[in-house]
Symmetry: C2
Subunit: 433 residues, 2 copies
């Protein structure tokens, strides 16, 4: 009998980060960074790992959504799944009944992403390669075949995608060597959480510069005077040569965003992230036009490739911040990287969270080697917490991500961490709550 997918397990894992106000911002005052953690098991005893990141309450709903999708793929022959990961993705995102809960958005779409990513993890483990290298070694034709172009053709045709991948082929090997030698540029959000004191903000900002980061990020949007004070303090701490990005986490309406940003312009913010509703394509375009040269960035809540397509078509963003677990996994993120390359917009992935740094680095590195061919204006977010819970934690050296060489997509958690932080019955929740 051929090997089949035997099970798709989902576990509710939560970290009590709200106790320290790590991760606090204008919309998330007290997050408990969490993961709906997926283990895809084959009848041959192999495993693939994926997850959907959430911020606490609702992680159980995310687990329920994964369990609702699991019957669609349990029993499928593994060889067929890995030979057609596009078909596997379509099966999960296109189910005629479950798609009603989206379509292509929210809990059910993130659940599809967690399972799709687990299948990619299994594939990469089998091939003995990190995801970035697995993708970077695929042919342009193979890569194009992974993408669903149904709703994209008015902005990007398969022929255009093929052409841009082919044009990036000549330098692949050289860029791969460069990546292995020098890593990929990172920026850090560690200094700037809204719950931190001024003293902690200044100290961490200086430390970030000392650690080699050229860009730091501060949360804004709760109170205008506080923002002015904090951004001014950070600018004073890091000097004129370091970029300071600011992140409003959707706090503002369109006109409010424009006026608030004018009050911060004197401190030369590099980009404004999530100035308003993540759904407001036209709003982002209006803000961008009004606040230039401050760049506009968004993406961590951008729920699918159709929304990214429009952000690009409307000239609404300067920086595209894809996320490893918001959309339907590796396939949709390849589509998003191709769209960004077509429109010439740099991708600076959203990370932090639980395992997002570990996963998203692969997408940025693949982009460098085989899609955009550049790290110009590109940085991966980095936040220094929760990495100890991963089997293959990221490594940062001199403000750059070290290219991972182990197999997989980076989502595998340490079994003892899963056991300890399982919600609500793991010992970290039953004994310290």
């Amino acid at each position: 009998m051929s090997e089949v997918i035997a099970a798709v397990d989902a576990i509710d894992v939560r970290f009590p980060t709200s106790r320290e106000l790590d991760g606090s911002d204008a919309m998330n005052p007290e997050p408990d960074y969490s993961a709906a953690y997926v283990t895809l098991r084959t009848s041959g005893g192999e495993e693939g790992f994926g997850l959907a990141f959430t911020v606490g309450r609702g992680n159980d709903v995310q687990v329920a959504a994964i369990r609702a999708l699991a019957p669609l793929v349990v029993g499928l022959p593994v060889a067929e799944v890995l030979a057609d990961l596009r078909g596997f993705s379509d099966r999960l995102t296109g189910d005629s009944q479950l798609r009603w809960l989206g379509p292509h958005k929210g809990a059910i779409h993130m659940a599809a992403g967690a399972i799709v990513n687990a299948a990619w993890d299994l594939y990469a483990r089998r091939e003995g390669k990190p995801l970035w290298r697995l993708l970077a070694e695929m042919s342009p034709t193979q890569l194009v075949s992974l993408v669903d172009f149904r709703y994209l053709r008015d902005a990007l045709t398969p022929e255009e995608a093929l052409d841009l991948l082919q044009r990036a082929q000549p330098g692949r090997e050289q860029r791969q060597n460069d990546l292995l030698a020098r890593g990929y540029p990172a920026y850090t959000t560690t200094p700037g959480w809204l719950g931190y004191t001024d003293e902690k903000l200044v100290r961490l900002s200086k430390e970030a510069v000392d650690d080699g980061f050229g860009l730091i990020k501060l949360k804004v949007g709760a109170d205008n005077d506080t923002d002015i004070r904090r951004v001014a303090l950070a600018r004073e701490a890091v000097g004129a040569g370091i970029r300071i990005a600011i992140d409003a986490n959707q706090a503002w309406g369109v006109e409010q965003a424009i006026s608030w940003l004018k009050s911060l312009a004197a401190y030369d913010p590099y980009w404004i992230e999530e100035p308003t509703s993540p759904d407001d394509v036209l709003g982002h375009a209006a803000i961008r036009q009004a606040v230039a040269p401050i760049k506009v960035a968004t993406g961590e809540h951008c729920h699918n490739q159709v929304m990214f397509k429009q952000l690009l078509q409307a000239n609404a963003i300067d920086v595209l911040q894809l996320d490893a677990t918001r959309v339907a996994g590796v396939n949709e993120n390849i589509a998003i990287l191709l769209l960004a390359a077509k429109f010439g917009v740099p991708v600076c992935p959203h990370a932090g969270g639980v395992g997002l740094c570990e996963m998203v680095q692969h997408l940025a590195m693949f982009d460098y080697v085989a899609v955009s061919g550049s790290t110009e204006g590109r940085v991966i977010e980095y936040v220094d917490h929760l990495h100890q819970h991963f089997v293959d934690p990221v490594a940062i050296r001199g403000g750059r991500y070290v290219a991972p060489e182990g197999p997989g997509i980076g989502a595998r958690m340490r079994p003892e961490s899963v056991a300890a932080y399982k919600f609500p019955d793991g010992p970290q929740w039953t004994t310290q709550r």
Copy 2:
């Protein structure tokens, strides 16, 4: 002790509609029309009813999402809740952890809508009024206070909303009498499901005209030749004086929609509904420009007021099809009605499903009496099934909805139906499966 919300119960109710191919379309070949059914119970023994409509699998996820939100409101004093339904809505849509699963979209947003609607149902029952009348008798100031303008101000300010409601005040009483005397125009989708034979399509189309409907709707988008044959048959059956709307249920890309519609233009379709991804604001605008005078309609999958705002700002739609259970309930639908009125776009609500006709009629009737002040170009969808499961089923006379006079929002199901169709353990599922 003051009366509080004692419980928010959610039950998974599914009807095996796939057995008859009722409701079949290009994206939903075999739906089992379902409801995540909410009963909000007070400590004083009162009840309010709401629901989220789904099409089968995934209804359990919808129930899980409602249960995840319930703790946010259980224990709240009922008097405070009903005095501030805007605050109640914000509490459910703005929870800093649960909003991550959207934000403002998908399962978690529909769950908020089901609970918000249940609170409105309780309120209307207390007042002894149908929802449409409860709303139509509120002052413009009260109505404006129910809306969250954070992300709307660039398209509609509270002042503009107040102004347009005030301008609609003079004729309220006359229109209310007209509504009670004549009802509200309906159209029917009953003839046009994709799974029906040509013979059934022709027969039901003729019956619809005989029943007084001036507009019928056909599903399209699965096969171009089939569509041409079916639309031609329907046109022949109903003659030139009856409007035929067509509905592609998101089947096409932007360019594909335009060419496919050209092949059907000879049969004079009145509107094309959901020609492409419901998220594609710019795509709808491009299609509208290319296929005029065929009108472009969408909304049943439009996940929140920010998306409707953009569809209007981009001149992307001729017809706005709000849905009773896709967005966060009555409050958000008031915002959507106000936006539509500001932009002069008629609202023709999506219905069918489970209880959608029963619920959505209240919103259209409120719109007529107190917002747009008109039924010109406006019709409520009507599908003739599953009404027998509701305590207050809709009544259609001469192709028009009869204005309901009983208290509530229309979502209350018959207890025996809930017991019979409860999934997976109701007798309709255990004995006939």
